[in-house]
Structures are given as C-alpha cells and as structure tokens.
C-alpha cells in the first residue's frame, strides 16, 4: 500500500486521469456550445432559393410588370427605382443601354473605325429590331427563348431595341407585347444567322393585336363585342369561324390613334354553335400574324367573360409552376416527367396546363413552346 509522501508511479495517475478527463470535457463542452450557436444562427438565416408559388415575386423577376415603374422597382411592393440611366437595361427612351434619349448621356461611339491591329480578335455581332404595336405596350425581346431586354412602345406605337455582343451563329429572336389590360400578343419569331461583326436589323415589324370578347356565350340575336389593342390606325381583320362547319365571317375595323379597336357583332348573322375569333393587323402594307384565338358560343343566354383563375397577362397554358411565366423552369418540370408515369398530382396539372393525355411527350413541349414567355 503506498504511504503518504510516496510518489504515484502508475502510468495513469489520478492527476493524469483527471487531466485527460478535463481536456476531453473541455472539447465536448466547446463543441456543444459551437453546435448550439450554429443551430441558432441557422434558424435565423434565410435560405434564398427560387420557390414555386402561385403568387409570383414580381419584384425579382427581371421584368417590369404589375405596378412597377421600372424593372423590378417602384410601385407599391418594390423598392424605389434607381435612375433608368444606370440600371444596365435599354429602357425608357434610351437609344442604347443606359444612354441616349431625353435623360441619359449620349451614346458614345467606339474609337476610330476600321480594322487593322492584331489578328485573332473576334468582332461581336448585334441584332437591331424595330416596329409597331399598341402605344405604351411593354415589348419583350427574347434570344433563344431567354428574355434579353424589354422596352416600351412610344405614344405612336413605335418600339426599337438592340441586342449587342453576339457571337456568330444562328439565333432565334422572338418578340411579344403586353397591353394595358395585361393581354399578351402571340410572339413573332425569326431565326437569324449572324457572322462576326455584322449588324442585322429587323425593321418595320408589326406585332399582332390583342383580342378579347365581352361574352363567352351570347344569346342569339344579341350583340357580342370583340375588342382589343393594335398599332394605331392599323386595319384589323377579325375572322369569326364556325367550329362545326368551318364557315368564316370577316369584319374589318380600323384602330384608333390610341390603338383601341372594337366591333359589335350582331349574332343574328350566326348559327347556333361554337365559334372561334382571331384578328390580325395591317399597317403600311405589312400584315401581322394572327392574335390569340378566343372561343365563344351562340346559344340561348348571355354569359359574360370574366377573368379566369389566372391573372391577366399570365399564360393560359403550360405554366407548370404557377409563376405567370413559361420558361426553362416549366420546361425542366416537364422534362422530369418525360417518359415517366405521372403522379396523381402532376397528372392533374398536366390535364390543366397541357394536353390532358396523361403523359409528357413532344406534344406537351410543343404547347409549351407556343406559350413561352421566357
């Protein structure tokens, strides 16, 4: 038995064990403290991801919509807009990106012209577009399905935009506009082949009109109002087609200086049955593509057309995530279900937004391509 005063010669003395225990305890306590602190911080941190919602975050969608006075700024919901001359977008009355127009500094040209200098330098190409639509319409320009810029048509309906800094190659350019009622024109699209240093200009484009009717069902002999917005003073050809026998009725209306057109069609001229209606504009010898196609019924009672479940301006089909746009996100959702058995919930969505055949195939993607907004 050790006597008092004898030194503890065991490999692990009590003091040593105590020291070892203290070190490990210190480590465990520190870890617990740090982990608790981390958990607290995690619960306070906001993870910013794009979450699908039926209410779009219009202040962060890179589009001037709702009551915004600029792209994603202004209005009741978003922060105040910075000067449009410093937002990196060709908007307002700018003639270039953040230059030109009544408020911004003049757009500077480049340095001396001509070639020369070192070889191997690729000179970028650019695409210029201009044309007519309804006054103050919000015009979207897409490159290969992606929105590259937006602009407003002026009070005469004229719009123009520039897509700079492009490599040589084939590009699909699409343009559509949204009117004051939130109705969208079909997109006009055209592929274009660019070579280095070229400027391709698409001039005098005429966007299709928007179209609406006051009724979805009209009592025979009562009038149905067909109306919309088009380029000012354009001649608009409205085609009403009997869905059963294909017979057509065509009326021509000239839009006002503010781009409004309207026609009261006496349904006594029509047989009972289902009809479709569309319109196209002609201005300066140029005829636009057709508007969206609407349907109505000639029957025994009047039923007014009321706003549907979707807000005005939202695509009526193919918006799979409910964000009021048809773009790569919707394409990705459809691509996930491509050649897969649909879940019950997605089958219901497919029936509502696509062609309701219970599967995702090229037909659904074609529908999506038609309603594409970017």
């Amino acid at each position: 038995m050790p006597k008092e005063g004898d030194k503890d010669t065991r490999f692990l003395s009590k003091r040593t064990v105590g020291l070892l225990f203290f070190v490990v305890l210190l480590v465990v306590i520190f870890h617990a403290f740090a982990h608790a602190n981390a958990k607290t911080k995690s619960s306070k941190q906001m993870i910013t991801v794009t979450v699908s919602s039926t209410i779009p975050n219009h202040c962060a969608d890179s589009i001037q919509n709702y009551d915004e006075t600029g792209v994603d700024c202004g209005g009741a919901d978003c922060t105040a807009c910075a000067s449009h001359c410093t937002n990196g977008i060709k908007d307002s009355d700018e003639t270039g990106v953040d230059c030109g127009g009544s408020l911004c500094s003049a757009c500077g040209g480049g340095g001396g012209g001509g070639g020369g200098g070192g070889g191997g330098v690729t000179i970028k190409a650019e695409i210029s577009v201009n044309g007519s639509t309804f006054p103050n319409g919000l015009v979207y320009i897409l490159k290969d399905g992606v929105i590259v810029t937006t602009t407003y048509a002026n009070s005469t309906g004229f719009f123009q935009a520039l897509i700079p800094n492009l490599n040589a190659g084939v590009y699909q350019i699409s343009i559509y506009a949204i009117d004051a009622d939130g109705l969208q024109t079909p997109a006009i699209s055209f592929p274009t082949l660019l070579t280095d240093g070229t400027v391709v200009s698409f001039d005098n484009l005429l966007l299709p009109p928007t179209i609406n009717t006051d009724k979805i069902e009209v009592k025979k002999n009562d009038p149905i109002i067909i109306f919309g917005h088009a380029a000012p003073f354009s001649t608009n050809e409205i085609t009403i087609t009997n869905s059963a026998n294909g017979k057509t009725t065509v009326v021509i209306v000239t839009a006002s200086g503010s781009g409004d057109y309207s026609y009261s069609l006496n349904s006594s001229l029509l047989d009972l049955g289902q009809y479709s209606v569309k319109a196209r504009a002609t201005l300066g010898g140029i005829t636009s593509a057709y508007s969206q196609i609407l349907n109505f019924l000639v029957n025994t009672k009047n039923v007014l057309r009321v706003p549907g479940a979707k807000p005005a301006g939202c695509p009526i089909k193919a918006d799979l995530n409910g964000d009021c746009r048809v773009n790569l996100v919707d394409f990705s959702i459809a691509a996930f279900w491509y050649k897969r058995t649909l879940s019950a919930s997605f089958a219901a969505l497919e029936a509502q937004e696509l062609n309701a055949d219970g599967k995702i195939n090229i037909v659904d993607f074609s529908i999506m391509a038609y309603y594409w907004t970017g």
């Binding site: 070892l20 699209s189 592929p191 057509t248 993607f365």
Partner: protein
C-alpha cells in the same frame, strides 16, 4: 371611340383548308457526293417547313451500321433551341439516332438545320440513311402534327481504285466557349418532391453543346487552412443537388463539341462553419487525446 371608321364586310366562305403543304425532312450532304471505303463525310439533317410554322421536331435517323461508323453529332446552326433529348445514338448495333427538341416562338424556314452527323465509311456497299417516326409539330398551341414526309439518302461506297488519300471532314473550327448562362436553383412539388434542384441551359453557336458537368464544392476553413471537397460529375438538367442544405458552392460547366468550357457559379447559400463539420471535430478530439497521452507519458517517464 372617336376616330374609328368602321367598314363592315360580311361574306361567308366555305372552309378553306391549309394552303401549306406537309413539311419535309431531308438530308443535305456537303462536299464530295461519292464515297470510298475509309472516307469521312458529313450530312446535315434538315427540315423544310413548306410554309408552316413549326415549333417541335422529333424522330429517328437510321443508318447502316455495317457500312458506316458514326464519328460525331454536332448541333451548330441548329434551328432547335431546347433539346428534350439531344441527338444521340440510341442503338449502335442497328444505327439509330433519336432526337427531340423545341424552338419557342416557332420557325418557318425552307431549309433549317436540325443537326449534323459525321460518318466514316467502313467498307464498300450500298445502303440508305433514312428517317423514321418523324414528327414536326405546328406552332399552334395544340401541338398539331403537320404529318411531315421525308426524303432519305442513298449511299454507295466504292473501292478506291486510285492511290488517293481517304477524304477527311473536320468539324468547324471553334475557339469560342459556350454562351454565358445563369443556372438556377428551384423547388417545386412536381420536381423531385420539392427538393433543391439545379436547372441550366445554354447554347454554343460554333459546334454545339456536348455535355454539362456539375460540381458541388464545400470549403471548410480551420486555423487558416482551407479544405475543399467535391468533384465534377456529368449532369443533365434538371439536376438534383446532393447538398440539400445548399452549403456548397455550385459550379456548372458547359462543354462544347470542341472541348471549350463555360463555367458558371452559384455561391453557397449557407456556408459550412468549421464547427459544423464532423471531420474537423474528429481531428480536434484525436489531437487532444494525443496531447494528453503525450503529457501523461512524459510524466510517467520522469517519475521512473
């Protein structure tokens, strides 16, 4: 509504069928039209819209695999913007290439390129490169099939009787990387059950996109040292992220058919703190134990 002058014209007309003829798929072969064994040649798969506005194409191309070796498929100058399925060999044994894609907004070109195929002849013989199951859908909001027809391509591979060199076809020169793009993290109930998913897409105008790769990289800093984890993985969009806590930097690489790369980055939305990493704690505890044992051993040796 001042200023509106209405002219009403009523006429009834019989139903007028579409004046557009059916669209036509075909092949265009550039350069030398005759082939000898060992030659390379290129054909462009094309669509003639014949006045119709189309927005979706799909189909199979069948080639005689006993006569032809497929060397490459490129999508430069393609009218298709978004591939549902990028053209690729579905069955190398019987020579089947499948493709499917859309172009938002539609197109109505006379001879639009769909994609290009590079072949090398294996031996003499005759065969046909043909279309099968082709679809060209109208840009009408309903996906109506325009019922396209197809022109196939006959090939006749002969013996080279002279001492000439085999024909060689090179892919276009391409020094440009794919175009800039913005990958996006999304969540949707209909996409991997509301998990964090990465979506991405871009174009390459010179030779087309070959594939994409994704890397999820965690960076753990400790005592002035940085540890990185993660490696590149071939990926298709939509891509289910491994790190659902979004604690990793995400890199998406688009690679074209020449090997040029464009890399885009999404920074970690919730960086990993060092004290959240189990590996770091293992190192600390082992180090503490090592130090403690070393102290003990030293004391023991001193006492002895």
């Amino acid at each position: 509504m001042a200023g509106i002058f209405i002219i009403a014209v009523f006429f009834l007309s019989a139903f007028i069928g579409s004046s557009a003829r059916a669209s036509v798929f075909s092949f265009s072969r550039s350069g030398v039209q005759n082939s000898y064994a060992g030659d390379e040649f290129k054909i462009d798969a094309q669509i003639n819209c014949q006045g119709a506005s189309l927005n979706a194409l799909e189909g199979n191309i069948i080639f005689p695999a006993d006569l032809l070796e497929l060397e490459n498929i490129t999508t430069e100058k393609s009218i298709i913007n978004l591939w549902v399925e990028q053209p690729k060999v579905e069955n190398s044994a019987n020579g089947t290439i499948f493709f499917s894609g859309i172009t938002p907004g539609g197109f109505a070109e006379t001879n639009a390129n769909v994609f290009s195929i590079y072949f090398k002849t294996k031996k003499t013989g005759q065969g046909t490169i043909s279309w099968q199951g082709q679809k060209a859908l109208l840009n009408d909001g309903a996906g109506t099939d325009s019922k396209p027809t197809a022109n196939n391509l006959a090939i006749n591979i002969k013996d080279r009787l002279d001492n000439g060199n085999p024909a060689v076809v090179s892919a276009p020169a391409d020094s440009e990387p794919p175009e800039d793009f913005t990958p996006e993290i999304v969540r949707d109930n209909n996409l991997f059950n509301n998990q964090n998913v990465l979506i991405f897409n871009t174009q390459d105008k010179e030779t087309g996109i070959n594939h994409y790769e994704v890397k999820e990289e965690k960076i753990i800093s400790f005592l002035g040292l940085s540890f990185k984890t993660g490696s590149w993985k071939t990926a298709i969009s939509p891509y289910l992220l491994k790190d659902q806590k979004l604690g990793s930097n995400i890199y998406v690489k688009a690679v074209d058919n020449t090997g040029n790369e464009q890399i885009e980055t999404i920074s970690a939305l919730q960086p990993v703190r060092w004290y959240e990493n189990f590996l770091i704690w293992c190192i600390i505890i082992l180090a503490a134990l090592f130090i403690a044992v070393w102290i003990v051993k030293k004391n023991y040796d001193r006492k002895k």
